[in-house]
């Protein structure tokens, strides 16, 4: 969109420039043309008359008149002397017969000594044409060959111009920081044109020329910036404003600037009511149209501005209004012909309009940066988590009606906060912006269509929201996977417990019973041989019985703990007491716990059993203590402590690691504190669930 605006303004500038190009100075006349002119023009004419004739041809060449007509009229019409009155009479005579958009040429000075005639041509073709014929009779055209003497810009206006120029620069820098590149271009060009006006103070003709041309470009630039400040922009609007800017520029040069810059009044305009009326009409028309376009843009942008609290529209409106008033005043001034307002009021008002342009732009820039601060708030809120994404996005976007949709894999559709699938179509006046993250659709923002007018804001919020949704998604995935891991760990632990119970049961029902039965058989055999057979058989049977008992003892050790029946029957306190009294060291048992879930009891039991086994195997401590108690938060806390050698760690494959898995499987936590030579503390905190 900005490119269209730029093109339109460039076209406008080109149009204005072209009008000057036609009458540009330093243009040599081709010899052939001169020859043709000389042959066409009566040789008795003085060089001045010849020059005037040529000049008229240049101007008139853009009319319906043919060269032949002109020549004829020139030759037929002029037979007078060399005075200004005579020459004027010639032109008046010719103009009376010329119809259509013929330019006006009014001779106001003839310098016979220098062989120069100075006139003013106008009406969109040229401003001032100096026609000069040098001593050799060569004819040339210069424009502004002599900068006018006397004050051209009052000093206070010069100061204001410089200030306004720097205001443009400052606003440009702000716009650049807020990333509004279109505005940056407009403001840059604006600052150049504003500052270039000061060149009109120069006595060098070329610099003076630049200084004189610059104001024509200021208005298009100002318009460009004001339009770009409005969030609502469309191609048609840009073309319209661009065209208007071009016309404005031309009219401004004509109507306002010569007066403002201290040039002599424009005789052909001020004393020719028809021409003047035409000019006024053109000026009023374009100014009104420009104001209408600006007002329409402001009106169309009002919802965006209002939703975002942007103060810029007031400045844009003020600038537009003041612009209109200034143009009106200038026109009135010209109409009255006394230049009363032109002295200070119109130039001052124009400068205020100019100053308002960067102010409006700067306000929007600063507001945009403030908007980015809101975006930063959004990021911070997302970072903190637990936020109401919907309202945070609404705040950052400046659209309360926004609705955050999430992509649901289950529903294979976008769903709203309540999980209801959102339809493919959006309501009238609403738009949907899809949120992508890592190349996949994670959600969408459904917002008021006017947000499309703030694409920068929308894109930024969409990017942040997309990231937030992606994070949310990944979090949910991780949680699901964690839950799966916990469940599977829990399954593994349960499966292990079940397998252990089965082995214990098999041992109990099988091997242990058979060994006892075997022991009984051996005893019966022992009884049978007692005193009847040699003692060696009895001794052998006794040894066999002893082996059976040892085997039973070993089996008991193996199967013990595989299924702590006492735990199921009597609870944790009895089971831990039973555990402790089998061990060869003194163990202080303090269990203050009611019945909790089987899982928790079993886990507690294994924690204590494993920790006590480690105490006996590794710590070398003569005693240990076991504490089981309920915490204030209802969790069960198990602490096994000794004052042995310490240095225990949950190494891979160690009992402590297995314990850690078991504890995690039910959502508990296991901590082992075991500094070297300072004892070991195994602490488990388990949910009672």
């Amino acid at each position: 969109m900005r490119i269209w605006l730029a093109l339109a303004v460039v076209a406008g500038i080109a149009a204005v420039s072209a009008t000057f190009w036609i009458g540009r100075g330093q243009k040599s006349i081709p010899v052939a043309d001169l020859a043709r002119l000389e042959s066409a023009i009566d040789p008795s004419l003085s060089p001045v008359h010849a020059a005037l004739a040529w000049s008229f041809e240049i101007i008139g060449g853009r009319t319906t008149l043919t060269d032949a007509d002109l020549d004829r009229r020139l030759v037929d019409g002029y037979r007078g002397g060399d005075t200004a009155e005579e020459i004027q009479a010639l032109f008046d005579h010719m103009l009376a017969e010329v119809t259509g958009p013929v330019s006006l040429v009014r001779i106001h000075e003839i310098d016979h000594e220098r062989g120069t005639a100075v006139g003013i041509g106008a009406k969109g073709v040229m401003l001032l044409v100096d026609v000069a014929v040098d001593e050799q009779g060569r004819i040339g055209l210069w424009q502004f060959s002599e900068p006018p003497s006397g004050p051209r810009i009052p000093p206070w206006q010069t100061g204001l111009l410089v200030a306004a120029g720097w205001a443009f620069v400052g606003a440009g820098l702000l716009a650049r920081r807020s990333g509004r590149s279109g505005t940056v271009s407009g403001l840059t060009l604006g600052s150049i044109t504003v500052l270039a006006q000061v060149l009109a103070l120069s006595d060098a003709p070329s610099l003076y020329l630049i200084g004189r041309l610059a104001p024509a470009l200021v208005l298009p630039c100002a318009l460009w910036v004001l339009v770009d400040t409005c969030p609502v922009k469309g191609r048609r609007w840009i073309l319209a404003t661009g065209a208007l800017a071009a016309v404005q520029g031309a009219v401004a040069v004509w109507l306002v600037d010569p007066v403002r810059l201290g040039h002599p009044p424009i005789p052909g305009i001020t004393d020719s009511p028809d021409q003047y009326r035409q000019l006024l009409t053109a000026a009023a028309g374009t100014t009104a149209a420009t104001m209408a376009v600006l007002a329409a843009l402001v009106w169309r942008s009002r919802r965006v501005w209002r939703s975002q609290g942007d103060p810029a529209p007031w400045v844009v409106l003020a600038a537009a209004g003041l612009w209109a008033v200034t143009a009106g005043a200038a026109a009135l001034d010209l109409g009255l012909g006394d230049a009363a307002l032109s002295g200070d009021v119109v130039p001052g008002a124009t400068l205020v309009v100019l100053a308002l342009v960067p102010v409006a732009s700067a306000l929007t820039s600063v507001h945009g940066m403030w908007g980015r601060a809101e975006l930063a708030d959004l990021v911070v809120e997302i970072e903190r988590g637990h936020l109401d994404l919907q309202s945070a996005v609404a705040r950052a976007l400046g659209d309360d009606s926004v609705c955050v949709l999430r992509w649901s894999d289950e529903a294979a559709a976008l769903v709203d906060e309540g999980g209801r699938p959102a339809g493919a179509e959006v309501e009238e006046g609403r738009r949907r912006t899809h949120l992508m993250s890592s190349g996949r659709l994670v959600g969408a923002l459904e917002h008021d269509a006017f947000m499309l007018r703030r694409p920068d804001r929308l894109q930024a919020v969409a990017a942040v929201t997309g990231m937030a949704l992606q994070v949310e998604r990944l979090n949910a995935q991780v949680m699901t996977q964690l839950e799966e891991v916990r469940t599977s760990r829990s399954r593994i632990v349960s499966a292990g417990d079940l397998a252990r119970r089965r082995v214990e049961r098999d041992l109990h029902d099988g091997a242990q019973q058979r060994l006892v039965a075997l022991g009984l058989l051996l005893q019966r055999g022992r009884r049978l041989v007692d005193g009847r057979v040699c003692d060696e058989v009895g001794a052998l049977l006794d040894r066999a019985s002893g082996e059976v008992r040892d085997a039973l003892t070993e089996l008991r050790e193996v199967s013990r703990g595989m299924n702590p029946t006492l735990l199921n029957e009597r609870g944790l306190a009895a089971a831990i007491e039973g555990l402790a009294e089998r061990l060869p060291i003194a163990i202080e048992v303090g269990v203050v716990a009611g019945r909790v879930s089987h899982e928790t009891e079993l886990t507690s039991y294994y924690v204590v059993a494993e920790a006590l086994t480690n105490v006996i195997k590794h710590s070398g401590a003569p005693e240990a203590s076991v504490t089981v108690e309920h915490q204030a938060d209802g969790h069960l806390r198990i602490v096994v402590e000794d004052h042995g050698c310490g240095g225990a760690a949950a190494k891979s494959g160690s009992g402590l690691e297995g314990l850690s898995d078991r504890v995690s499987a039910i959502g508990g936590e296991l901590r082992v504190v075991s500094p070297m030579d300072q004892g070991t503390t195994v602490e488990a905190v388990l949910p009672c669930g």
Partner: protein, 219 residues
Amino acid sequence: MRVIIADDSALIRDGLKHLLDGEGIDVVGSFGDADGLVDFVCEAAPDVLIVDIRMPPTFTTEGLEAALEVRRRCPRIGVLVLSQHIETVYAVDLLSENAAGVGYLLKDRVTVIDDFLDSLRRVAAGGSAIDPEVVARLLRRSRRARPLDRLTDREKSVLALMAEGHSNAAIGDRLSVNQRTVETHVGNILTKLDLLPEPAIDRRVRAVILWLETDGEAT
């Protein structure tokens, strides 16, 4: 002597039956589970019910519960509870009312036939037979500054045998000392533990076991 055997293992039931038959002990019934056991036992009124603690259907403590039920309903019938694993709390349960005619032994003990028959007879006679493992564990129980520490090693040995349910004479035999010495030791022990002299063996067992279990706090 008449006994009833309750054990879910047929091998053990048969083995015990044959063993006891050989010793002239009459096995008047054998059960594979606790179903109908108590009624039958109270009806048949044997001298002793030999029962495995772990039986169908839940394989937890059906045997123990049946034994306790028999104790309540027919206190004259002795119960000898056998188990692959010994737990002191079960011993305390069995002794909670009184210790007359109560036995609690590791199942392994049946493979030392003389000791087992001795225990069985004690229970049949209204005495007690507590597994040495139970007593050992109670003695090992850790309490700081235990009153038990006041006992000499010999007194501790005597205390263990007392707790198992042996008479003074049997203790003397086992420790190869004469009965007088044992009596002296017993007297000293009871004094140190702050227990009243108890002529009946079974009551002595109960008092000692409960004392050990609670470390003298309750008595």
